[in-house]
């Protein structure tokens, strides 16, 4: 399959029964759907399940030629992601039924996750200023909001955000300079 084909070309071919085009769209969209799932479902396995469900819904629609504007395939997929996550939240039972019914055949290999040197990260965090380190730990320990951290530090929320941005930038620089 020519991976340079546009999304619109692929959508058209799928409506004509082209299975290679289906595989290419799945390969292209799966990592993006997985990211959406990670963000909203906070679990790798739940994100993988979302990939299955969204791809199935998308393929059904494309086969049936239900995508009106084929240039907007990514936005169509995003819409399915949003609806599916809403549905998953409404009904865990429905999720289980779909997974049993469709299995895992349509899930491509997951996108590789960047590796992190944990020891180096610890050294980089320890090199932060005290206030920055506290903000980072409080933010990431249980994803405390800026308001909660601000209350502890007697700072404004915007100050906490500035400290967090500065700290994370410094951590990125520290990790990149030593990797």
């Amino acid at each position: 399959m020519n991976v340079e084909l546009s999304n619109a070309d692929l959508a058209l071919r799928i409506s004509q029964g082209d299975q290679e085009a289906e595989a290419e769209v799945c390969r292209r969209m799966a990592p993006r759907i997985q990211l959406y799932g990670l963000r909203h479902l906070r679990s790798s396995s739940a994100a993988d399940d979302l990939v299955q469900q969204v791809l199935l819904t998308m393929l059904e629609a494309l086969r049936a030629g239900r995508l009106r504007d084929s240039d907007r395939l990514p936005q169509f997929v995003l819409g399915i992601c949003r609806m599916t996550v809403l549905g998953l939240r409404r009904s865990a039972r429905r999720q289980e039924r779909l997974l049993v019914e469709f299995g895992s055949d349509l899930v491509p290999d997951p996108a590789p996750s960047p590796m992190l040197d944990d020891d180096q990260l610890a050294r980089c965090v320890q090199s932060l200023k005290e206030r920055e380190r506290s903000v980072v730990v409080l933010t990431f320990y249980n994803e405390q909001t800026a308001a909660e951290t601000a209350a502890f530090l007697a700072l404004s929320e915007s100050n906490v955000r500035v400290i967090r941005y500065r700290a994370i930038r410094q951590l990125r620089t520290c990790m990149e300079s030593t990797s």
Partner: protein, 205 residues
């Protein structure tokens, strides 16, 4: 981050800022900004890869924050949350000018020092860690404190504490003023007894 994830030229014509990607992951964006980010991510694998880097960093930081291995000033809510989520928290609270006998067990997760002091008049507070002889070996400068808090909660590295031979540490809370210099707010001695098998003193590396 692995070498292949080092900073590289961004080909995306409208890349999402790294700060915004991290806020997106932390669910800190307003909903309209979140929708804009998602509409971009569903079309851009490059920014998707950068989001994966942000996620890796966030997860690394979360793991590190939960490991108890950092020396950091934390909040009472942090300690409560740790205990409620099943972590074994060992806390010591020597009175100002006093001392406490302490240790750590193999299954402890967090080690916390609670240092009571009147912080109301201090504009900047340093936490100085000294040997039993009073020689400073670490200064945590300008620690985050609330003037009305009355207590500084400092997490000690549980990893270091578990490996530490029996010894005495002295913590000093010091108010620092550009004109008046330093003023002792409180001094606290921790007499640590090793209960986990190991060398009787630090081995030269």
């Amino acid at each position: 981050m692995t070498p292949q994830h080092r900073r590289r030229p961004i080909a995306c014509s409208n890349p999402v800022e790294a700060d915004v990607l991290m806020d997106y992951w932390l669910a800190l964006l307003p909903s309209s900004s979140e929708e804009t980010v998602e509409e971009h991510l569903v079309t851009c694998d490059e920014c998707g890869d950068r989001l994966r880097e942000a996620i890796a960093l966030a997860e690394g930081l979360r793991t590190l924050a939960r490991s108890g291995s950092l020396q950091v000033v934390i909040s009472d809510e942090f300690v409560k949350h740790a205990a409620e989520s099943g972590q074994r928290v060992r806390a010591y609270a020597p009175p100002p000018g006093g001392s406490v006998q302490c240790t750590v067990a193999a299954d402890d997760d967090l080690l916390v020092a609670r240092l009571a002091a009147d912080l109301s008049s201090a504009t900047r507070v340093d936490l100085s860690w000294c040997t039993g002889e009073g020689i400073e070996f670490l200064r945590m400068a300008d620690i985050p404190v609330r003037g009305d808090a009355g207590t500084v909660i400092c997490q000690q590295s549980i990893t270091m504490a578990k490996a530490s031979p029996s010894n005495t540490l002295i913590a000093r809370l010091v108010a620092v003023d550009a004109e008046e210099g330093e003023r002792l707010l409180g001094e606290y001695a921790f007499h640590h007894t090793r209960t986990i098998p190991g060398p009787g003193r630090w081995e030269p590396s």
